[in-house]
């Protein structure tokens, strides 16, 4: 599904990613771990199309198309979803308005008619219940005045409704207490399917207790320095990053 080959990314003149290779297949969950400044968030941003980064070398192929050629909205409509580390507040645009606009943009992209108003409401309310959110959130402005946990839950709600193929979770566990973390993790687990892949970017092992990865990669100084199974995360927790950074 996602094939990253020798990817070099710069911010200005400064190289941040220095030759990333990664293969992600449908149904897989990959955790990308690493210390601060290792390039984790840059990887999330370059996949979602945020401006300010330039690809100096290498390629990103998504379902056999060149991802770098697509605008952020086309990537999103093609099924790439980024759950933000810091979800943005959008005053004046209600949650439900954005959800509907986003879902219809995807449907239009696929040549489908607009979603029926009643079907949409049923779908949204159902997902809201699963994520243990208050329905009132739907009618509030996107993320405005939400607590950290509410914002992260809202990201997962969007993900649940848009049903992406490739979900990128950027530090989704940061700023969450254990109850919120469990709810978010349950939400993610309920979305696991053989057609859908996840990339979880995280600093800590904690999230991986709740969402079991198939693969763990350690990013340091812009390179993947070690890859392994879930046991690698536990080892990192025990020994710290210096152990692999030195390797």
């Amino acid at each position: 599904m996602l094939h990253i080959e020798n990817l070099h990314v710069n911010v200005g003149d400064k190289p941040i990613l220095k030759g990333i290779n990664l293969q992600i297949n449908p149904g897989e969950i990959h955790a990308i771990m690493g210390p601060n400044g290792s390039g984790k968030s840059t990887l999330a941003h370059i996949l979602s199309g945020k401006s300010g980064y330039s690809v100096a070398a290498g390629s990103i192929s998504y379902n056999h198309a060149d991802l770098a050629e697509m605008t952020p909205e086309i990537r999103a409509r093609e099924g790439v979803f980024l759950a933000f580390q810091y979800p943005v507040e959008i005053p004046g645009v209600s949650n439900i308005y954005l959800l509907k606009a986003a879902l219809n943009a995807i449907r239009q992209h696929r040549g489908l008619a607009e979603v029926d108003a009643m079907d949409f409401l049923t779908l949204v309310k159902n997902k809201v219940r699963i994520l243990e959110m208050d329905e009132k959130f739907l009618y509030r402005a996107v993320n405005e005045g939400f607590s950290g946990g509410e914002k992260k839950r809202n990201e997962i709600l969007q993900m649940a409704i848009l049903e992406p193929k490739l979900c990128i979770l950027d530090e989704t566990d940061s700023g969450l207490d254990i109850d919120a973390l469990k709810i978010v993790a349950d939400g993610v687990n309920s979305l696991r399917s053989p057609e859908r892949a996840f990339v979880m970017i995280t600093h800590y092992q904690r999230l991986l207790d709740y969402i079991k990865p198939d693969f763990v990669h350690v990013l340091a100084h812009g390179r993947i320095v070690k890859s392994g199974g879930p046991e690698l995360a536990l080892e990192l927790e025990e020994k710290g990053y210096s152990w692999v950074e030195a390797a």
């Binding site: 199309g49 401006s51 409509r77």
Partner: protein, 440 residues
């Protein structure tokens, strides 16, 4: 000052004055004469005056507009009238500054309420006009007031007695049909103690150059409540001056919603004098595009203790438009426990648009809670990317954010019918791609 401009108007004042309402009232004749001579001396306001420094009206001074001393017989297109006239309100329609009984809707007014044209009031009960006229503002304020004092042709006289709550709003619908003319209405609104009313002031005009110079004097006695909506959709060649001067009694409440959308050059003045425990809320939204110049000037005088004021003005400026906000809050020495907040936020959509904003706090009391904030900026790139990452294309994302910025002010309109009409006006002004009206 442009002397040729003032001479042009004052030369005919004596002959015009006998056609103006209240010409048989010595007190009004004197006010008009004093005002005409003040106008002759000072003319329209100059940018040298601090409160006019961002608004240069020399373009207006080059025009030679004629006062509409005679009633107009223009036929009003009914679709156009209905697009602006509210069906769920009593309405007084003014054509070129003159009351039109035929087009107005005034059936079933409560009998204790006085709502009539200013011309009628001056002929049937001039003493009631005299009791309040020129008490909230007078010709010394500036040239537009002097001009209005001297030349006003009609307007509304409204008096709501003690404890009466008007169940429907009253709309003042100003329609301008004549080219190169001036509409000068003077409105006097008095709410006795504990009375409640809502007023809606709407300005529309044919696609001509003209000047509207309207003045409202509002007296809200203690514990009374008045909500005022101003919807200014003048022609894009028009000049507009609209001033509201409000005297609030103890514990009186005044809420103003100012939608400044039209006009080539438009200026609005709102001055509130607050007595003990009273509250005023001033909301504004101004939209400028092409070469529009929209100026909003507010002054809130906290004269007595325990009064509160809230102010939020938002501007969206595109092309080469210029928006001005001058907000002044004055807290008198004995006005302890004043609670005041003033905010002005401007969104610039083009590199050539300009916002001039000047909040001023003058505090002479020592135990007060006063704040102000101002922003001038462009759309937030983070927000645009966030929406793009949620499948929205960039142009739609920009439109959505711009619309959301402005819509906050429209959502403050409580009456559905009026809300929908103002929303239509907003949507007509901006690209609608990405905005799904039927979801709003």
């Amino acid at each position: 000052m442009n002397k040729q401009s003032t001479n042009f108007y004052t030369a005919d004042f004596q002959t015009q004055a006998v056609h103006l309402p209240g010409f048989d009232q010595a007190w009004l004749v004197k006010i008009r004469a004093d005002s005409a001579s003040a106008f002759s001396e000072y003319g329209f306001p100059s940018p040298r005056a601090e409160e006019w420094r961002y608004t240069n009206i020399s373009a207006l001074e080059k025009k030679r507009f004629s006062p509409c001393t005679e009633k107009s017989h223009a036929k009003i297109d009914s679709a156009w009238l209905h697009s602006a006239q509210l069906s769920d309100a009593w309405s007084l329609v003014f054509i070129d500054g003159h009351f039109s009984a035929e087009l107005s809707l005034l059936e079933q007014l409560p009998s204790s309420v006085s709502i009539m044209s200013m011309a009628d009031a001056l002929s049937t009960c001039p003493e009631r006009v005299l009791a309040h006229f020129s008490q909230a503002v007078n010709f010394r304020e500036h040239g537009f007031i002097a001009f209005n004092d001297a030349w006003f042709t009609d307007g509304l006289f409204m008096h709501i007695p003690v404890k009466l709550k008007l169940e429907k709003p009253v709309q003042l619908l100003h329609i301008m049909t004549r080219a190169d003319a001036i509409a000068t209405t003077r409105n006097l609104i008095i709410l006795d103690e504990m009375a409640e009313a809502q007023l809606i002031e709407t300005f529309i005009g044919l696609d001509n150059a003209y000047l509207t110079a309207t003045v409202n004097e509002l007296f809200i006695e203690s514990n009374a409540k008045l909500s005022w909506y101003k919807v200014q959709s003048e022609s894009d060649k028009a000049y507009h001056f609209g001033g509201s001067y409000i005297k609030q009694g103890a514990d009186a409440t005044f809420t103003h919603h100012n939608f400044a959308f039209g006009g080539l050059m438009a200026r609005s003045d709102i001055h509130c004098d607050l007595d003990r425990g009273s509250a005023c809320e001033l909301n504004g939204l101004y939209l400028g595009s092409k070469r529009q110049h929209i100026d909003n000037h507010t002054r809130i005088n906290h004269l007595k203790p325990h009064a509160s004021s809230r102010e939020l003005y938002k501007g969206v400026l595109d092309d080469r438009a210029r928006g001005v906000f001058q907000g002044r809050v004055v807290v008198a020495e004995n006005a302890q426990n004043t609670d005041s907040q003033m905010n002005n936020r401007n969104l610039l959509l083009s590199n050539e648009a300009e916002a001039d904003t000047k909040p001023q706090l003058e505090i002479y009391a020592d135990d007060v809670k006063c704040g102000h904030g101002v922003t001038v900026g462009q759309l937030d790139e983070q927000s645009i990317f966030y929406l793009q990452s949620r499948c929205i294309d960039e142009i739609s994302a920009r439109n959505m954010l711009t619309f959301a910025f402005a819509n906050e002010m429209i959502n403050k309109i409580k009456r559905k019918n009026l809300h929908d009409k103002v929303l239509e006006l907003l949507l007509a002004r901006f690209p609608q791609e990405g905005i799904e009206k039927n979801w709003l």
